[in-house]
């Protein structure tokens, strides 16, 4: 099963339509969370929004998670050992309030287990060989440990050095 999600704030019809057409042409179940999108899939199963538990279940069970370039989904995919393909919303197409997702996918794609699909062609070529997609390496928490340690010290002492 391939799980597709676009977040709750905006729709992302371009991605949903691409995945619906992919579902039409491929023998694999596609489940999509489409938010307020106008395009309603014909071949993929879809919901506008999902409960947290169901949402996490789909991320866990999916062979591949296809998502907008949102941090939350990337972190969840990595935690669940599911490879994730992200497509960025484009400001020019009215898909977001600014273009930070276009900058975002460049560094996101450097994370293990994360693949960037700026276009439908790249998305399809990644989906055509899902066996080649890797899950995240054992997650390195050094930077997070540094941050929480620093914040703890700052709260207790008020010092930033």
């Amino acid at each position: 099963m391939i799980f597709v999600a676009v977040g709750t704030q905006f729709s992302f019809d371009r991605l949903i339509k691409a995945m619906d057409e992919w579902a039409r042409d491929n023998n694999e179940e596609v489940i999509a969370q489409i938010a307020g999108g106008e395009y309603t899939p014909q071949y993929a199963k879809w919901e506008r929004f999902l409960e947290g538990e169901q949402y996490n279940h789909y991320i866990k069970e999916a062979s591949v998670f296809v998502s907008h370039a949102g941090m939350g989904n990337i972190i969840s995919a990595r935690n669940n050992n599911t490879p994730i393909i992200v497509m960025n919303r484009q400001y020019e197409l009215g898909e977001h309030r600014n273009n930070h997702q276009a900058d975002g996918i460049k560094w996101m794609a450097e994370l293990s287990g994360v693949y960037a699909a700026p276009t439908q062609e790249i998305l399809y070529s990644l989906l055509n060989d899902t066996q080649a997609l890797q899950v995240a390496n054992s997650i390195d928490t050094k930077k997070l440990d540094r941050l929480t340690q620093f914040l703890g010290d700052y709260i207790k002492t008020g010092k930033t050095a």
């Binding site: 977040g7 709750t8 704030q9 969370q33 929004f49 999902l50 409960e51 947290g52 169901q54 949402y55 996490n56 991320i59 949102g70 941090m71 939350g72 989904n73 990337i74 972190i75 969840s76 935690n79 309030r97 600014n98 930070h100 997702q101 900058d103 975002g104 460049k106 560094w107 994370l111 050094k142 930077k143 997070l144 440990d145 540094r146 941050l147 929480t148 340690q149 620093f150 914040l151 703890g152 700052y154 709260i155 207790k156 008020g158 930033t160």
Partner: protein, 155 residues
Amino acid sequence: MNKKIKILAISSPGGHWIQLNKICNPMEQQFDVVYASPSAQYKSSTQSPSGKKIYAITDASADSKLNLIPVTLQILMILIRERPNTIITTGAAPGVMAVLLGKFLPIKTIWIDSIANVKRLSRSGRMVKKHANLVITQWEDLSDDKTILYRGSVL
């Protein structure tokens, strides 16, 4: 008497909330952390081990400015009730309101800009830059090492 320092951790839902949990869940060992976030229709949340306290607040964003009024009152009530020593937020709109309230009460405030903002501080981060006691970026390049600090990141 060894009472834990209390922290209010607050953010909008989605990616901000997941980053907030990544940062604040490990801090629960040392601090008494209470959370506040809009109860979104989904939360792909990072669960903390046992019974953490989460206040549900109204969802407000740059697109729903009217909702900033109830959300500000709700945050004020939480601050009066919980009397935290420090507020930590990853943004966006509820975090801005929490920082501004914290400034006047006064409560120490920490703004952690979302890791999604790679090229410049988020718009809300730029708004609170002068008001928060501590502003953290998760990208070394965005730090000036004076008013905006880099001290690690969630990933």
